[in-house]
Symmetry: C2
Subunit: 718 residues, 2 copies
């Protein structure tokens, strides 16, 4: 179970998303053991022994309608290859009426189910992928420059001039991180996010730390973007302010519904607003620089602002790390490579290039224009809005800019809906997250991951009452942790593989890692008390949780793994659960009987029909009742051995469970099959009228080794 | 299923409380059918076929310690008669560690379990029964006279003189009702409450209406008494007023705990306060009348109070019905007859006589003394307190009177704890209440009934915030409904049976019924809008609920009843669940296999070892996975027939359930046994890590006829 071996395996499997991931193939050792176990099975099967044709199609009997008046179930299956049936869509409807209604409602909302065969077609063209994956990144420029200026202005108007060199540094960082991910994508040709790159090169714990950081970042992306978007709406329509929290929850629910419908549909929904925002900001830059050119690029003097703090290194670093939130979302492409059309890595790399270029253009352009126009951040109006008002004094362009800004903020959350479930899929495949995140829903989306993200983001949103300001400080730590680990991982990668030009590549990644690490440390320290501590505490806890989940799955896997059969133990003293061959199973069938009625007689008949040694047990609350029951048993004909247990303290489950354990202690190699009749109640309100002995007995017997519980259902005619 | 026939049966069984009531004997027809079914079983049993000695004791093998390190379970059972074991007390401890801890805690709180054999000894001596059963009745005099005077005074001081004739009328009513119940007790020598008497003579619906009225009354008795008692405490210690609700809930919990310990212990707890209250009030009367004799029994003129209403018939009737709340609790004895020591009915009748005599003496004495002292009800101080202050101007007697009054009000609630579960027991025995109320707990108390009463009373208490005034109007309607129905029932009884002196007895009961009915109508009409409407609405709803519960049990009983076997249907076209003989059961064993591992191989081995036709089914999310699995199956040796179902929409449960239904449709006479491996998880937090296919499959298959589900547990070694 070496970490490296598993990693390599994971890298080999890459990030291909397939429904078969839920049922991974056997390893070579287990394969071999399987054959040797099979050799020891007693007898080859008799192909004609079945009383019914399992392929349903060739029996020649006309199918009859079922008593439930549903679709004739035989028609739900098509005969495929030999010994294979293919379930049609109606076969997926649940059996109960309520369940069918719910499923129909869900399908109306989210569309008809998509076959596993369609998984390849749900890929994105580059022109679709770009808006879907970049809305998070590009929307950050709406608040990134302002976040940086807000820190600088604390040192007075004079310090604002520092924005240009800091922006240049950030552009270097953006380019470095962008180039690093560009290098990563072909190095991991099936696509790779920080989780896989860090885990692959630095080890399991850094990989999990990167994953934890990214997961927190995705949750916060949704919360922050929705909070900012809703705030933009409530600023325009103050009447909606009291319903901020329900409105945000509604937006998250709509995002969830859109994504549950499937990747392509969700992508289409988001193409237009992203491009519209791009057009609006580019128009702003063109017109703005044209106006500046008109006055010979002479900067306007900003209004004087008194200094609140001295201009120290820490302040500059805080400004730098605040400006760096413009970069959140840059990793989106590398996690989503498999969602691209083939050749996936090439399309992904191209898309990443475009995205970084756009980010640099918008970010640098905006910072420069703000400097030329001498704008200062002030409460009540965003810098972007000031810039819009300055540049477009009249006409609809200002309104267009503000509307697309609000819209892209809301849609930025969608990036997280693409990446979060995919990250969970990779983690679940490695056993670091619950296996249910491997399951692809009706619409080939990872429904469980989408729901988990929506619940977490909704909870954060409600807890923080949709307040952007208090959410922002938590935001950058997680993502820069992932950046740092991923790029450090690439440094190790180049040292190990030493391909052509590895020195240059290593240097590039090292610069990126160092800069990211600097931002990470600055953000964590400078914003610790403002909320970053939550992330600093949560990441190790999440890593611990992932480790424990992994340990559980590993234990389980080892316990259930196939081993070559050991030589049979001498004598009959084996344990009932150790045996895996039919001829080794020794049966004792036990039927608890409370009263003699149709249900219990049916259970007794079922037990006797198995042809194994059978024992009936009756638990009596009093000696007198025991005598009465034995007398009835005699009247019936005493067909099976009956043991009566008087339970003077009137409990039923406890004595029965202990009696079975006592039998098991006497002969540990016996497999006890407990056969319990279960009256199936049609209506839910009838349940409290019954003591549900069957369920309680099942719970009590769970812990006993070698005890098999069989429920014989009795359905009431009416 | 005639109502009369069932009634007679119930009357014959009387009100004997026995743990065996949970397992009633078979009727004669079912007995006969049982024998005829038994004749058709294929073969007599082989007495030596069992691989283990079911009596545990004679095997000769030394018992080994179990792997769970618990008590060796063999020692938990004593060998009784042939084929009988007697469970010892440790056998009742649950298997899980948490369960054992909880049970131990419960036993520390409520005492060790009592054997069914002790049921006879938990009876009450008369001197214990009197305080236990009379606290409700006697405590009523603390507020009954005042309730009557409060209505009269609305017509001015002059109307207060009417209290003497009204009190005389109430005394007549008390004596009439008392005599009626005295007559009832020997007429139903096993003891009988209003439910049984009304049901027996007037029919099922009146019986259930009486039961509903009594149940509401018991719940309200607890709530009102606790509210009044807590109010007395918070009046003395105003600092406790904000915690009225938690304090009341605590008192109810203490009452519940005391009663869960068992009847006798609870009785002992309550002997002293009741007798102390009796002493206090008797002393008050003696001293008061002595003082009045000192002035020649000349009444003091009451202070003038202006009239708020005219003195009409309705006012007098309202005063009468308000005074009648003094009688609540008079029926306690007749419901509790079986709790007396033998000869039960004679002791009960004697106790009832004492109780009524004491009630009359206290009630009449107090009304007379209040009149002589010219006291007027006023807010802020109860009339009883005024009387005490007047009579005992100095010394500790006044404090003693107030303390015992507060205490007996709290303890009056205890009467309901005796009668409510007993009433539910009788109703459950007739199938009108959930059968779980037949079960006697560890301590031979009807734990379920006690808990139900506590929950209902606690809920009422919390909803009304412990406010006595708003609870009182709901109070009398239920109990006078029961009185009226019970005494009308006795009228019918005498007309039917015409024993010696039946004319006199009939007349006595008729007077009682008429007076009770008058109070009932007056209370319901006059207090309708003050809260009595709740009871007027709730009684029919409860009757409806009881009827529906009864219908469910009757349907179930009929469906499960044994019938003589019908001639075998021609051909193999029977239904799988119709067959009750082993030789008629046709098996097909189906094993769903997701992956080949130790768990599924063990399920396959178990299935094959049954020696019945076996089919393995694999659900694949994709065609490719199906091929891969089939290839592994071949590698194993293809020992069993495998059918693969490709589920292109990735659901597992739906297609599997529909496939089994399809198999069943093809051959309805087959019994399908679905064998599912179940990995038993030790820790609760591991559960979300697994998809619990076994449980979901079980739920989906419940509705299918003839499908038996078998769980083969796999326990992890670590």
């Amino acid at each position: 179970m070496g970490a490296e071996g598993e990693r390599d395996d994971a890298a080999g499997r890459g990030t291909i998303v397939t429904p078969s991931a839920e049922l991974p193939p056997l390893g070579p050792e287990e394969r071999a053991a399987l054959g040797r176990i099979g050799e020891r099975w007693r007898e080859p099967r008799d192909p004609d022994e079945l009383p019914v044709d399992p392929t349903l199609g060739r029996s020649g009997r006309p199918p009859r309608p079922t008593r439930f008046g549903r679709l004739v179930p035989i028609e739900m299956f098509n005969v495929g290859e030999p010994d294979e049936l293919v379930a049609t869509e109606p076969a997926h409807l649940p059996g109960s009426q309520t369940g069918r209604l719910l499923t129909r409602a869900r399908r109306t909302l989210f569309g008809p189910p998509l076959s596993s065969a369609s998984v390849l077609y749900e890929r994105m063209r580059k022109l679709v992928a770009l808006p879907v994956l970049s809305s998070d990144l590009l929307s950050s420029v709406a608040y990134g420059p302002e976040a940086m200026l807000s820190v600088l202005v604390l040192a007075g108007t004079g310090a604002l001039g520092l924005s240009l060199p800091l922006a240049a540094l950030l552009v270097v960082l953006m380019v470095a991180v962008g180039l690093s991910y560009r290098q990563t994508i072909p190095a991991y040709p099936h696509g790779a996010g920080s989780y896989i790159v860090a885990g692959d090169n630095l080890g399991r714990i850094p990989g999990l730390a990167a994953a934890a950081g990214l997961m927190l970042d995705y949750v916060l992306t949704v919360s922050v973007s929705v909070a900012a978007g809703v705030h933009a709406v409530t600023s325009a329509l103050p009447g909606l302010a009291p319903v901020t929290v329900p409105l945000g929850v509604l937006v998250i629910a709509v995002l969830l519904a859109g994504n549950l419908r499937g990747v392509r549909t969700a992508g289409n929904l988001f193409v237009l607003p992203t491009y519209a925002f791009l057009v609006a900001v580019l128009a702003l830059l063109v017109v703005g620089y044209a106006r500046a050119a008109g006055r010979g690029f002479a900067p306007v003097s900003p209004p004087p602002v008194p200094a609140a703090e001295g201009l120290g290194l820490l302040l500059v670093l805080r400004a730098f790390s605040s400006g760096a939130v413009s970069m959140t979302g840059i990793e989106a492409v590398s996690n989503a490579v498999p969602a691209f059309r083939p050749t996936e890595w090439r399309n992904a790399r191209t898309t990443l290039g475009w995205m970084v270029a756009m980010l640099v253009a918008l970010f640098a352009g905006l910072v420069g224009l703000i400097h030329l126009d001498g704008l200062v951040p002030r409460p009540g109006e965003t810098v972007l809005s000031q810039l819009g008002r300055e540049t477009f004094p009249t006409g609809p362009w200002y309104a267009f800019l503000q509307a697309t800004t609000a819209l892209i903020l809301l849609l930025a959350a969608n990036t997280a809906f693409n990446d979060f479930p995919r990250l969970l899929f990779f983690m679940a495949r490695d056993g670091h997250a619950p296996r249910r995140f491997l399951h692809m829903g009706d619409r080939l989306a990872f429904s469980n991951g989408l729901v988990a993200l929506s619940l977490a983001a909704g909870l954060v949103f409600v807890v923080f009452r949709g307040n952007t300001t208090s959410l922002i400080p938590l935001y950058a730590v997680g993502v820069f942790l992932a950046f740092t680990l991923s790029q450090s991982g690439m440094v190790v990668h180049w040292r190990r593989h030493r391909g052509p030009g590895w020195h240059r590549r290593l240097a590039l990644n090292a610069v990126g890692a160092a800069l990211s690490g600097l931002v990470l440390v600055t953000a964590a320290v400078a914003k610790f008390s403002e909320g970053a501590w939550v992330v600093v505490v949560a990441v190790p806890l999440l890593v611990l949780l992932f480790r424990r989940i992994h340990r559980h799955y590993a234990t389980l896997h080892q316990a259930l793994a196939l081993h070559p059969p050991a030589p049979a133990p001498p004598g009959p003293a084996g344990s009932a659960e150790g045996e895996e061959l039919p001829q080794e199973v020794r049966h004792l069938v036990v039927v608890p009987v409370a009263r003699l009625n149709r249900a219990s007689l049916r259970a007794l008949a079922y037990a006797a029909s198995l042809g194994q040694p059978t024992l009936a047990v009756h638990i009596a609350p009093e000696e007198a009742e025991a005598d009465r029951f034995r007398e009835q048993w005699q009247a019936w004909g005493d067909h099976l051995r009956l043991e009566t247990i008087v339970s003077p303290y009137r409990a039923v489950i406890g004595p029965l469970a202990h009696y079975l354990e006592a039998l098991h202690t006497t002969r540990p190699e016996l497999t006890l099959t407990v056969i319990v009749p279960e009256v199936v109640l049609r209506r839910r309100w009838h349940r409290p009228l019954h003591s549900r002995v069957e369920q309680r007995l099942r719970a009590a017997l769970r812990a006993l080794p070698g005890v098999v519980v069989t429920s014989v259902p009795v359905h009431l005619a009416e």
